[in-house]
């Protein structure tokens, strides 16, 4: 079988290498606009409209001026704003991306800008631009990689909506390539640090204001988790060659130890100031030492971050003292350093808990970066910044970027002249750098020329468009001239749905909705709700459904009214989505329901609405939460949010017949065929009843809770005879038999492990968990002084007195549960069988004033086993007292009556009391009394 599989795998491998696939690789560099990718294959949306989409998404109008009549037809996507870009993108990323845009990030909508006439010129231009961008310093986010956040990040990435537009990731969090219609992310680890990616994810609109990337994550914590998940491969990539010496010490400290007085347990070479070289977490310390060389004298800022304490010395002088027990804390200090070689030493220790270290350097011409990047093992090999801008580094070691201000100045001029400024906003003295490149006017563009030609030449940028994309653009350009200056509402909605990729999650008028390949990524906490619980709602008719204010809020701010649905409606930003509101109201209409005249007073109408919603009438609260109070069954949308969200006319029509509005919904028709079951409420009028509910729910959180909402307790109180309660009892298992006695003592017998699992005093149990709603979970005893008796079997045969008491791994090992019978007073006597011995276990309350049990055992067997024991007690401390009583862990007392002398032994680190069972004529009787 295995062999077959590998043969099959080999076949796939060969297929993957066939020439057709290699040719297709070029087409794979085309800009990925998800709406175009998805719909250009079908007929749901016409090609000219998809061409318009491309004109907007590729921001064509930033070079090709639209006329007044065509301007409103294109929803242009603004390119990322580049102010302070070096604060969020690694400086070493710029040059490669500018020089080889489509290789570095296939699928990018950024074109390969024309950089020059020959390779040398191109390289020089890219380099200059890179230095200019690297000069745009910004605040660095201080968050660092935290392996504990990866799992949360993975869940958020997979479930909250990221994969609705982006490709999923494999086990190592690598982007799964060639997933249809996915916006590619490229090698994020080369571009972002954990901190800068966190910032971007938390607020993507700050640099990408057009809302194509909406804000999905709710706060910095979530953004950080996703950043850690996405960048984890950077953390696990092969390490560079060593640049630092380190020494490792063990011990327990609250402050950094004096390393000169310690002997190192281990020594070695490290590639970074990284605590990973420590042999364990907690109670250890590390000392790093290395050299770096500076090109010029000046002010340098050092950032030392650690958990717990750390210190840094330059040339033997303490620079930063970040000592003591604390969470990851960064201290920064600016110092004057001379040109030339410097010795650096860093010490850190970990007392307990988290362990982390970051050492960074920054100056006017050195963007903030890890200090290890310019470190070497000794003075002679320390690299200076006098060499080329890029330091030649050991294989696998990240390139280190050193800013060249002269080059940056050149880059500033190029930024405007090669066309970057056409698309990217960049402020200089509070004014946007003006664009210098001007292409032909939009309406004068001809197919197969300029950007649309086979191989764009001269100044034309190369978008790597494929044939289909070019054809769609050509068609759109052809149509543009004759189109009216503004789109009708329907087209505008469609255009916005395409550009914001609403169709990835929502269907509208039978277009869009989750694609098959992504369908499984939409998940729910309530699978019983079916697709309704996991797939975002269809937006057909949404303008007639949602109140305008609510619609606006949902679009601008996102929403989470369906707590069971794990994918989120993200924030798109007002400017991007507000234009949808009016057209949706115009296109989506519903036949109005005439105003309703009530015979009752407004107060009575609300009372009737409340009655209808409650358990005595329609029981809406069985499935819907009410003002965040849980429902009995599934937890559907909160009732008190309905009038805030839903238009009255829609509510009236939906309640009458939900299916046409939400095909397949589990929402039953509360008025089947329009008829009410409640003739006495609001004159038995269906319309009035629906309106009454709407009026009642319109009070929102002030609506008084309907009947049946809160779970009242059901305390079982044994009065004349015992109450038996078989159910899921916490501490006694899924087949517990609880018994409450009128004497106010109680027990729970576990019918799986065949033992009395717990005894307690006072109140017996609250049955409401199991007797209201569906009955979810285990219920603990209600009373006081709950004593858990030893887990495992009550009786067992041992090979010797030394053998450990057997643990139960299955129900069958415990023996067989036979029955219980009740006596004239209703008290149960349990019968179970172990090793051919029939055991009757009859507990009865004792009459002493403390309250206790007397447990009468009768064992019968035709073939009595040897070495059968009762395990009477297990405890850390068992003290013998007078009258045969033993005190167990100071909690309860027991004594044995009519039993053989017990064996007191140590086993498994605990004290145990075993009673040897000796049969006489096949019978053995004994009593164990409990008091507590």
């Amino acid at each position: 079988m295995r062999k077959n599989i590998s043969v099959l795998a080999l076949c796939f491998f060969i297929t993957a290498l066939n020439p057709a696939q290699i040719l297709a690789a070029d087409a794979s560099k085309r800009p990925i606009v998800p709406g175009f990718e998805r719909f250009s294959q079908g007929k749901e949306i016409d090609q000219a409209q998809l061409g318009l989409l491309l004109l907007g998404e590729l921001n064509c109008t930033s070079c090709h001026a639209p006329t007044a009549t065509t301007k409103g037809l294109i929803q242009a996507k603004q390119a990322p704003l580049l102010d302070k870009v070096a604060g969020r993108i690694k400086p070493e990323y710029f040059e490669s991306f500018i020089a080889k845009t489509h290789e570095i990030k296939p699928g990018s909508t950024m074109p390969q800008v024309s950089l020059g006439n020959n390779e040398q010129e191109k390289q020089a231009t890219a380099k200059a631009l890179a230095h200019y961008l690297a000069q745009q310093a910004g605040a660095n986010e201080k968050l660092i990689f935290d392996p504990k956040q990866v799992a949360l990040g993975k869940t958020l990435f997979a479930q909250s909506g990221c994969v609705s537009c982006h490709a999923g990731r494999d086990q190592a969090a690598k982007e799964i390539l060639n997933v249809n219609n996915s916006v590619p992310l490229g090698a994020l680890e080369n571009k972002y640090t954990v901190g800068s990616l966190t910032n971007f994810l938390e607020n993507p609109h700050q640099v990408r204001p057009s809302g194509r990337m909406p804000a999905v994550l709710k706060d910095q914590k979530e953004a950080h988790a996703v950043a850690c998940y996405l960048l984890q491969s950077a953390k696990t990539s092969p390490k560079s060659a060593g640049v630092l010496k380190f020494e490792y010490f063990e011990g327990s400290w609250t402050k950094l130890p004096d390393f000169t007085k310690l002997n190192a347990i281990a020594k070695g070479i490290a590639s970074d100031f990284d605590v990973e070289v420590a042999k364990k977490v907690n109670n250890n310390a590390l000392r790093f030492e290395g050299w770096f060389k500076l090109q010029s004298a000046g002010k340098y800022t050092l950032h030392l971050g650690s958990d717990d304490g750390s210190k840094i010395w330059i040339d033997g002088k303490l620079i930063i003292d970040n000592d003591g027990i604390h969470p990851h804390t960064i201290i920064s200090k600016t110092v004057e350093l001379y040109k030339g070689e410097h010795k650096v030493e860093v010490g850190i220790f970990d007392g307990g808990g988290e362990y982390s270290l970051t050492v960074e350097i920054e100056s006017n011409n050195l963007p903030r970066q890890p200090l290890s990047g310019i470190c070497a093992l000794d003075e002679k090999t320390a690299e200076g910044t006098t060499k080329a801008a890029y330091v030649a580094t050991a294989p696998g070691k990240p390139e280190v970027f050193k800013l060249d201000t002269e080059l940056a100045t050149k880059g500033r001029a190029l930024f405007a002249s090669v066309g970057c400024a056409n698309c990217h906003g960049m402020n200089e003295n509070n004014k946007r750098i003006p664009a210098l490149v001007q292409g032909p006017e939009l309406l004068k563009l001809r197919p197969e020329t300029g950007c649309l030609s086979e191989n764009p030449q001269g100044k034309s940028p190369d978008f790597a468009l494929d044939t289909k994309q070019k054809a769609a653009i050509a068609l759109a350009l052809k149509n543009l001239a004759s189109m009216p200056p503004s789109q009708d509402s329907k087209a505008l909605i469609n255009q916005t749905f395409l550009s914001l990729n609403c169709y990835a999650c929502h269907q509208r008028d039978k277009i869009g909705g989750p694609e098959d390949s992504r369908n499984a990524s939409f998940v729910t906490t309530q699978p019983e709700m079916g697709d309704e619980g996991r797939l975002p709602p269809a937006l057909t008719g949404v303008g007639a459904k949602l109140n305008t204010d609510w619609l606006k809020q949902v679009l601008e701010q996102g929403t989470k009214v369906r707590p069971y649905m794990l994918v989120r409606m993200p924030k798109y930003g007002g400017n991007n989505v507000n234009p949808l509101i009016k057209p949706l109201g115009e296109v989506d209409t519903i036949e109005p329901v005439e105003a309703i005249q009530f015979a009752d007073t407004p107060a009575k109408v609300k009372t009737s609405g409340r009655l209808l919603v409650g358990s005595k009438a329609l029981g809406c609260i069985k499935c819907h939460t009410f003002n965040n109070q849980k429902a009995e069954g599934i937890q559907a949308l909160d009732l008190t949010s309905m009038p805030q969200r839903l238009k009255r006319d829609w509510f009236q029509r939906y309640m009458l017949d939900p299916q046409p509005f939400r095909p397949g919904t589990r929402m039953p028709a509360p008025w089947p065929m329009g008829k009410t079951f409640f003739d006495e409420i609001l004159e038995g009028s269906t319309k009035k009843q629906i309106e009454g509910i709407y009026v009642y729910l319109s009070q929102g959180s002030k609506a008084s809770p309907p009947e049946g909402l809160s779970r009242e307790s059901i305390v079982l109180v044994p009065e004349k005879e015992p109450i038996i309660y078989r159910n899921f009892i916490e501490g006694a298992g899924a087949r517990a038999i609880g018994v409450g006695y009128p004497e106010k003592v109680n027990l729970a017998f576990d019918a799986n492990s065949l033992r009395v699992a717990m005894i307690w005093q006072g109140a017996f149990i609250d049955a409401s968990r199991h007797w209201r709603d569906r009955g979810v979970g285990y219920q603990p005893p209600l009373g006081d002084n709950v004593i858990s008796l030893p887990a495992g079997p009550t009786f067992a045969t041992l090979a010797s007195e030394k053998e450990n008491w057997p643990a139960l791994t299955s129900k069958e090992q415990a023996g067989t549960f036979i029955s219980y019978t009740t006596d004239a007073l209703g008290r149960p006597s349990f019968q179970y069988k172990y090793a051919d011995v029939m055991i009757t276990d009859f507990p009865t309350p004792t009459n002493n004033k403390e309250g206790g049990f007397s447990r009468a055992f009768t064992l019968e067997s035709k073939t009595p086993p040897a070495l059968l024991y009762l395990r009477a007690a297990v405890g850390t401390k068992i003290e013998e007292q007078k009258d045969g009583w033993f005190l167990v862990d100071g909690e309860y007392k027991f004594r044995l009556v009519g039993a053989n002398k017990p064996i007191v032994r140590e086993s498994n680190g605990k004290k145990e009391i075993l009673v040897p069972i000796v049969f006489e004529n096949g019978v053995c009787k004994l009593v164990q009394e409990y008091s507590w």
Binding site: G530, D531, G619, E632, P668, I724, W771, R774, G775, I818
Partner: protein
């Protein structure tokens, strides 16, 4: 007795004739079958889980709160006055099956089948003996266990709901098992999802209802042929257990997103549902099952099955036949308006149908939290489709009264669509693969009691959704329920 029956049918005929007068109101279900309510003693919460009628004509009703009540005189005309209630047992774990044998009451609890006896004659059980606890529970509320009456071999059949109704995390969850009165335990069928009840047809074959969810496009009635696989694959992991070998070879895992009959072709053990109850149209959660064993004392539906629906508080009617050796057939609306969410039903030989209800945790159209009711036949025969038989090229419909040959021969009196469900691991399914067959002819039999309709063309594996709006009885009445849903898994061979 026979005499009265004859008289009452005669009487029914007279009444029907009078209905046909234009001014008379159209009769309703209530004119034929009346719902009689039991007066449940105050302070008793009888969330009915199972019903058993013992040989001494005592009705035993179990509750989800673990009680069993015995009711004397359950056939009394005045139930409030004559029915006598005694609490037979308490403290049991959600009893959803009751049977009786040799003076013992057998109760299916979540974790075991238990037999109970009142040994001292005080009316209360004092022996609670475990017959079998060979399956397991883990504390998940969805791990229900529904038990049947005894079959002719002395077995109680038990269907075990999946953990959380989605997966099988405890031994034999997702299985049907048989437990003999002597304790012998026999794993019988796999593939169960979330049962609503279990019962037998007149031939003694065992059926259960399963509910819409994963691998179940809608609720259905399924035949528990020993060794068969009922469609949800998660419980198949227990085929590795030794005694599970008794249920035959482990079936292949079905392909999600396929169709039932495509998979049934490929997986021999896979048993297609005998009846699908189209979602919303018939109900939302099928439950109790019993057959009419009254030999006419309950009306004309002898040997047909009655199946309850919890959400809609209804009882539906099912007529089964065999196609390619497997059960299939039609379901029809029968009676609505029960007090709570119907779960157990029990038909008596003397022509009554007991119906118990609870809507705790799952809402129902009947808005009472719990109910016990008895459905009595008034003696009048409603105008209904009596049986629906599949033919190679269409269907044969028989009626409870002679039809008006003119309306019955008019093809415009009939409307049909067909559809099926996606057989998938995701929850439920929309109706898919629609066809709209043309009714090409409707031929009325000489006795006017049946009509043969020919359609272009039947689709195997589809529900044939028929509305007979135009047909009138000889007396001029429309059908009480014009809807019929035939689950046509197999198209019969052409009659030779």
């Amino acid at each position: 007795m026979k005499h009265t029956l004859l008289l009452s049918s005669l009487f029914a005929g007279l009444i029907l004739a009078s209905f046909s007068k234009a001014a008379d109101p159209i009769p309703t279900e209530d004119d034929y079958y009346k719902i009689v309510k039991f007066e449940i003693p105050k302070d008793v919460v009888l969330e009915a889980g199972a019903i058993e009628l013992t040989a001494d004509n005592k009705l035993y009703v179990s509750s989800r709160r673990g009680e069993i009540w015995s009711i004397e005189n359950p056939f009394a005309k005045d139930l409030a006055k004559d029915a006598k209630w005694t609490r037979y047992a308490h403290g049991l774990h959600e009893v959803l099956g009751l049977a009786s044998k040799d003076g013992w009451i057998y109760a299916t609890q979540r974790g075991e089948l238990t037999k109970l006896k009142d040994s001292n004659g005080d009316g209360k059980a004092d022996i609670f003996q475990t017959v079998s606890d060979a399956w397991e529970i883990n504390g998940d509320y969805h791990e229900y266990a529904f038990g049947s009456k005894f079959d002719k071999d002395g077995n109680v059949w038990i269907v075990l709901c999946l953990t959380g109704s989605f997966s099988s995390n405890s031994k034999y969850r997702g299985w049907c098992v048989r437990v003999n009165a002597d304790g012998t335990f026999t794993p019988t069928c796999s593939g169960i999802r979330s049962p609503g009840s279990i019962g037998f047809n007149a031939a003694g074959d065992c059926f259960y209802t399963d509910n819409q969810g994963p691998w179940n496009g809608t609720s259905s009635l399924k035949h528990l042929l020993p060794g068969s696989f009922q469609g949800h694959p998660d419980g198949n992991k227990w085929f590795d257990l030794k005694e599970a070998k008794l249920a035959g070879p482990k079936p292949e895992t079905p392909k999600s997103g396929s169709r039932m009959m495509i998979e049934a072709e490929r997986i021999p053990q896979l048993m297609p549902p005998a009846i699908y109850f189209p979602y919303k149209k018939m109900g939302q959660s099928a439950s109790g099952i019993d057959f009419d064993k009254s030999e006419g004392k309950f009306g004309p539906f002898q040997n047909q099955l009655f199946v309850a629906d919890q959400t809609n508080s209804t009882v539906m009617r099912v007529h089964l036949e065999k196609g390619h050796g497997r059960y299939q057939g039609a379901c029809f609306p029968f009676r609505k308006g029960f007090g709570s969410g119907n779960v157990p039903v029990m038909a008596s030989k003397n022509g009554h149908l007991f119906v118990g209800g609870t809507n705790r945790g799952w809402g129902s159209q009947g808005n009472k939290p719990f109910a016990l009711e008895r459905l009595d036949w008034t003696g009048k025969v409603p105008f209904e489709i009596h049986e629906m038989h599949a033919k190679n090229d269409g269907f044969e419909l028989t009626f409870t009264h002679p039809v008006d040959p003119k309306t019955a021969a008019d093809v415009a009196s009939y409307k049909m669509s067909t559809y099926c469900y996606i057989y998938q691991s995701a929850y439920g399914s929309p109706e898919v693969d629609f066809t709209y067959p043309k009714i090409t002819s409707a031929v009325v039999a000489p006795d006017n009691k049946s009509v043969r309709i020919v359609i272009d063309k039947p689709v195997a594996g589809h529900i044939h959704d028929l509305t007979v709006a135009g047909v009138r009885s000889e007396a001029g009445l429309p059908l009480l329920h014009p809807e019929a849903y035939y689950t046509l898994n197999y198209i019969p061979e052409k009659a030779k």
